[in-house]
């Protein structure tokens, strides 16, 4: 009985974790989903879910701090951080969109 209980408990935990990953379910997740979708517009160059492919020279964005990411995008927007393409792309995102993307990337593990 005890071993069955433990097995059941393990299974319940696994299923609970899976259920938590079930996307689009709660209000709390709406912001995360919006950030995740917005970041997908960056993934062509910066990698799926903020993780770069092997051999890429770009720094991975997943797990960087929210403040640092927002500061980088603002610096690209106002030109204080020199760049080739990022200042042109950064100007296409609103402050709210940048916050959502930064919040999404900051909670990812690198």
């Amino acid at each position: 009985m005890a071993s069955t209980l433990i097995a059941n408990a393990r299974l319940a935990i696994v299923l609970a974790v899976l259920a938590a990953q079930y996307p689009g379910a709660s209000q709390a997740q709406a912001g995360d989903d919006a950030g995740r979708r917005l970041y997908a517009s960056c993934a062509g160059c910066h990698g799926t879910e903020g993780k770069t492919a092997p051999g890429s020279s770009l720094p991975p964005l997943a797990g960087q701090s929210r403040d640092a990411l927002v500061a980088s995008m603002k610096a690209f927007q106002d030109g204080s951080r020199p760049s080739t393409i990022m200042q042109q792309l950064a100007k296409g995102y609103s402050s709210d969109q940048i916050d959502l993307i930064a919040g999404y990337l900051a909670q990812l593990k690198n």
Binding site: G24, A40, C42, H46
Partner: protein, 424 residues
């Protein structure tokens, strides 16, 4: 059994029962999405449907080719700095993703009323949502000479990376020094606006080393260079003087494969040792055949919130086959972006919710003007709910100041990351 244990067991059992029945119910009624075409659009759509639904969607990806070959970077094969193998990626990674089944067949037709797709092997696939990412077809019927026997073997497009890319490189290698190479460019819109001009740079780069007396003659159906014009013209003048000969407003209407002559609408004739003919293009035939090409009978109009066809419900169209909004190029990067907007929308639509209201797409396009140096064009496009279209965000986007090697490195980063994002 103690009372507490009994209650725990009961509670656990009840909870397990609930979750298990929901899980098995979900697996029995998993929604089915069929994706036709595993290029930049279709492969990304399958990948992101899998990623964002955590495998809750049954995704069938239909693609006849055994491996993915990237059109971006394929001009470097003509220039000699890359091999086709460098641009070829297995579909195994994508096929192993949760919920994805790959079917190596050609999709031959669609029955929208029955929500089925017919395959070359005679089987049919049922769908709840269908995604078509069929790329472009070539309108050879507009060029009578291309109907002559052997014409299509002698005059290549190399506008779908693969055998033709390698064959065109061989034709270039077989040329004598002093002979001319012609590129005929169709009127826009066509796949990859800067591609023909990048190709001119790559061939000129090769000629400069191997055949310095040979010329690249660009016969452009457009009045001016369609993309990155000032940058390309500066490169031709400064790096390839006497090699690249640019001739605007040359609208090719016929070609003679025997004498290797291209004929314009005005009757001008230009001959060369090798002709690279980029034919006029339209949405891939599976989309056109299903009546989805409702813009000038060439391109498929879509709702930009979901990329669902405006012609047929439950069918979404991605990539080069769509009627684009202003300033949206037909590019690989854009196809990858279409796919993500579409995947997000389909996940909501399958749950009877409206698609996300504020899609945002970027375009990033790098062109190699030598084996190292690159120029870019970039743009950001957001949805305008009143106009119901995507607009380029004012003040965003732009071009490189000049060709540079740093962006050559970024271009390779782009390739590695977008290939992984699309296929792995």
């Amino acid at each position: 059994m103690k009372r507490r244990q009994f209650i725990q067991a009961l509670g656990m059992g009840a909870m397990l029962g609930t979750v298990a029945s929901r899980a098995s119910g979900a697996s029995q009624a998993r929604p089915r999405v069929v994706v036709v075409g595993a290029g930049y659009g279709g492969a990304t759509a399958a990948r992101y449907l899998s990623l964002w639904s955590a495998g809750r969607i049954d995704i069938t990806l239909v693609e006849p080719n055994p491996a993915f070959i990237s059109c971006p970077l394929s001009n470097l094969v003509l220039g000699g700095s890359r091999r086709l193998e460098d641009l070829t990626i297995s579909y195994d990674g994508l096929a192993s993703r949760s919920g994805i089944t790959m079917v190596r067949e050609l999709a031959t037709g669609i029955e929208p009323d029955k929500r089925t797709v017919m395959l070359g092997n005679g089987k049919t696939l049922r769908y709840d949502r269908l995604i078509l990412s069929p790329g472009v077809d070539f309108l050879y019927d507009r060029l009578p000479g291309m109907r002559q026997p052997g014409a299509r073997e002698r005059i290549l497009h190399a506008w779908k990376a693969g055998e033709q890319t390698v064959a065109l490189r061989r034709q270039l290698e077989a040329m004598d020094d002093g002979q001319d190479f012609l590129i005929s460019i169709p009127q826009a819109p066509y796949r990859c606006p800067p591609g023909p001009y990048e190709r001119a740079c790559q061939v000129a780069h090769y000629f400069k080393q191997a055949k310095p007396k040979s010329r690249v003659i660009l016969l452009d159906g457009n009045e001016d260079v369609v993309s990155k014009g000032a940058l390309f013209k500066k490169v031709w003048a400064e790096r390839y003087p006497g090699i690249v000969d640019y001739r605007p407003s040359f609208n090719t209407v016929d070609v003679d494969a025997k004498s290797l002559t291209v004929v314009s609408e005005l009757g001008e004739e230009v001959s060369g040792a090798v002709i690279n003919l980029l034919p006029p293009q339209a949405a891939g035939s599976i989309a056109a055949g299903a009546g989805l090409a409702n813009a000038n009978r060439r391109w498929c109009e879509v709702d930009f919130l979901s990329f669902e066809s405006t012609q047929a419900s439950h069918i979404h169209v991605l990539g080069d086959a769509i009627q684009v909004a202003p300033l949206m190029p037909k590019s690989a990067h854009m196809a990858n972006q279409h796919a993500k907007v579409c995947a997000a929308a389909i996940i909501e639509l399958l749950a009877d919710r409206p698609p996300p209201a504020h899609p945002l797409l970027t375009n990033t396009c790098y062109s190699f003007v030598s084996d190292q140096d690159v120029i870019h064009v970039a743009s950001v496009h957001s949805y305008d709910a009143q106009k119901k279209t995507l607009i380029a965000v004012p003040g965003s986007g732009g071009l490189s100041a000049a060709p540079n090697a740093l962006e050559g490195r970024y271009a390779m980063d782009w390739a590695r990351n977008i290939w992984a994002d699309t296929l792995l």
